[in-house]
């Protein structure tokens, strides 16, 4: 059974100029044990997707779509009803979470407070907590410290343990490594995998703009552009054989160690993403796509290509060429 099933989810932002169609028709699923990477640039809707599954609050507006968590419908539009699911069944590590730790409380207190709001006493889970701390290589003294005494990497690990303590079925991690140093990034990313391996969580969605990070830890990668899905597939396949022009251009524009300007001048993607207030009809990548043709004026459906589960939304691949 799939841990998460999302069908045609639409979440818009309400602004004074109108509705920003940040997430416009998302359909996908995450299987048990899967770490799905959600990649894209700023404004593509990946954070919106992540957040809407856990805490959908104004100015976000639920417009349409269905979400199922382990077969049960997830009422993301109802904040009250979601209380029962949040943290216990689906949990989110938001961006900048490590800065959201209450600076006036000791770490132990922060844990105790969150558990108390679920009706659980800290004593009951203390041994489990100790073991998790060991797993993420946090010394137990950390419990007696204030957030300000911890480094960025340590705070991030505290937040990770906090978000997974009740073993939620689905964990959504939003840019959890971007504010960290390179060496800590690797440790934290590996920790996410460890959580899955230890079965603390059944499935993970890792949101980031850093595709190379996803190459290291994700099983599948889903690429988003301007509120829509561009491509989804197994990590190896997406990286070695990207089919959607956006994915191809994106990957080829990333500087890699071993590639120098002298030898190979990389190219970026000219232009910028369309405004989501009044998005253009048809394929949203059309304007920047070097291979756009007539059919692209019609919106390409997100289609499954083969039995490996590879999906693309691009007429070049799925439709008729001229």
């Amino acid at each position: 059974m799939n841990i998460l099933e999302v069908r045609d989810l639409r979440v818009y932002y309400q602004t004074i100029k109108g509705e920003v169609k940040a997430l416009d028709g998302a359909t996908f699923s995450v299987a048990e044990g899967e770490i799905m990477g959600l990649a894209g640039e700023s404004g593509c809707g990946k954070s919106t997707l992540g957040r809407s599954l856990v805490l959908l609050k104004p100015p976000m507006k639920y417009v349409d779509g269905k979400v199922f968590l382990e077969g049960e419908p997830l009422p993301i539009w109802d904040r009250e009803k979601m209380n029962a699911f949040r943290f216990a069944k689906v949990s989110l590590i938001p961006q900048y979470a490590m800065n959201a730790l209450n600076p006036t409380k000791k770490i132990k207190r922060i844990f105790a407070d969150i558990l108390a709001s679920r009706g659980i006493r800290l004593k009951q889970v203390l041994s489990e907590l100790n073991w998790r701390f060991e797993l993420v290589e946090l010394p137990l003294e950390v419990l007696k410290m204030y957030p300000i005494e911890l480094s960025g990497g340590m705070k991030q690990r505290v937040v990770m343990v906090l978000s997974t303590l009740l073993n939620p079925s689905l964990l959504i991690a939003d840019e959890v490594t971007s504010a960290l140093d390179v060496s800590t990034q690797k440790a934290v990313a590996k920790m996410l995998v460890e959580f899955r391996d230890q079965r603390f969580v059944k499935a993970l969605i890792v949101i980031t703009h850093d595709i190379s990070l996803l190459y290291q830890i994700a099983d599948t990668i889903l690429v988003m552009y301007a509120g829509k899905f561009a491509e989804k597939g197994g990590t190896e396949e997406i990286i070695s054989d990207p089919k959607h022009p956006y994915t191809r251009l994106l990957i080829s524009s990333l500087p890699k160690i071993g590639v120098r300007y002298m030898e190979t001048k990389l190219r970026g993607i000219p232009g910028h993403p369309p405004s989501l207030l009044e998005p253009p009809g048809g394929c949203r990548f059309r304007e920047r796509c070097p291979e756009a043709f007539e059919k692209c004026g019609e919106e390409p459906p997100f289609i499954t290509l083969d039995s490996t589960g590879r999906q693309v939304a691009c007429w070049l691949i799925t439709g008729n060429h001229d």
């Binding site: 309400q14 602004t15 004074i16 100029k17 109108g18 104004p58 100015p59 207030l277 009044e278």
Partner: protein
């Protein structure tokens, strides 16, 4: 049918007008200002003149009734509004200016200048203003509203200095200040042309708070008898009323209007401030 997004020319004014707190607050303040200007012409009486029977409750002739001495309360009321605004603007303005100058300098220069100014601010903060005023009263024979305004201005600025210093420190750390420095701008010019304009919204709110605070401060001083030795203000009205037994005698029309007016005015100013904060700070806006 597609819905066209509304064209918004001035996002700022849009929010400013839509904000009910701002509208309500400004309306109330404007009402009192109008009353202060127009009021004295609405009444045929002089504030200190003995024009009627004493201790009369409100009636057609005397809209707010009469005092113990037969003076028209309404006339006193509308004449008493003007000094309230005077002291508020002058005292509040002076406090804002002093606090801003000290806060700016301390925040921007840092180092020992900051230390010295901080110490000075703290000293002024802990000076018991009441005791100071009593001493001053003993030396100054006659006190005017102007002196009162100056006194308030010179004692109410410390929190403003602290707040402005904090703002300056945060703005100073912004990279556009660094950019101005490597563009060869002199420090004074940077403060005037880069930092100050950014703080304008903050300073407006600071002034409104000081304005309201000065009114309250003045009313309190008047009420306990440390007000000006001449003239009439709302606070003085209340002082005289209570001195002459208005409370036990049930002459509510003598002290309730001035008290209520002060409460409404200061309250309106604070609500305006909250509204302004929402206008200036997009994150606080309700959609």
């Amino acid at each position: 049918m597609k819905k066209k997004p509304r064209k918004v020319k001035h996002e700022f004014l849009y929010f400013a007008w839509r904000n009910w707190k701002l509208r309500l607050g400004l309306l109330v303040v404007f009402f009192f200002v109008l009353l202060a200007i127009v009021g004295p012409h609405l009444t045929p009486y002089e504030p200190w003149a003995y024009v009627g029977p004493s201790a009369r409750p409100p009636c057609k002739e005397f809209w707010f009734g009469t005092t113990m001495f037969g003076q028209d309360v309404f006339t006193q009321f509308v004449h008493g509004l003007y000094p309230v605004f005077l002291v508020g603007v002058l005292g509040g303005g002076l406090a804002t200016v002093i606090g801003t100058l000290i806060g700016f300098t301390a925040g921007y220069r840092g180092g020992w200048v900051d230390e010295i100014l901080n110490t000075f601010t703290n000293v002024v903060l802990v000076i018991p203003t009441l005791a100071l005023l009593l001493i001053l009263a003993a030396y100054l024979g006659v006190r005017s509203f102007f002196i009162q305004a100056v006194f308030i201005g010179c004692t109410a600025w410390p929190w403003t200095a602290r707040a402005v210093r904090a703002q300056t420190l945060s703005l100073k750390a912004r990279e556009f200040v660094d950019l101005a420095k490597i563009s060869g701008m002199r420090p004074a010019k940077i403060v005037l042309t880069e930092i100050a304009p950014n703080m304008l919204s903050y300073l407006v709110m600071v002034f409104i708070l000081q304005f309201g605070g000065a009114i309250l401060n003045a009313a309190t001083l008047d009420f306990i008898g440390l007000g000006p030795t001449r003239g009439i203000s709302l606070g003085l009205m209340m002082q005289i009323a209570l001195l002459w037994g208005a409370l036990p005698l049930g002459m509510w029309w003598w002290f309730v209007p001035p008290g209520l007016a002060i409460a409404l005015l200061v309250g309106a100013l604070y609500i305006t401030n909250v509204g302004l904060d929402e206008v200036f700070n997009p994150k606080l806006r309700e959609m």
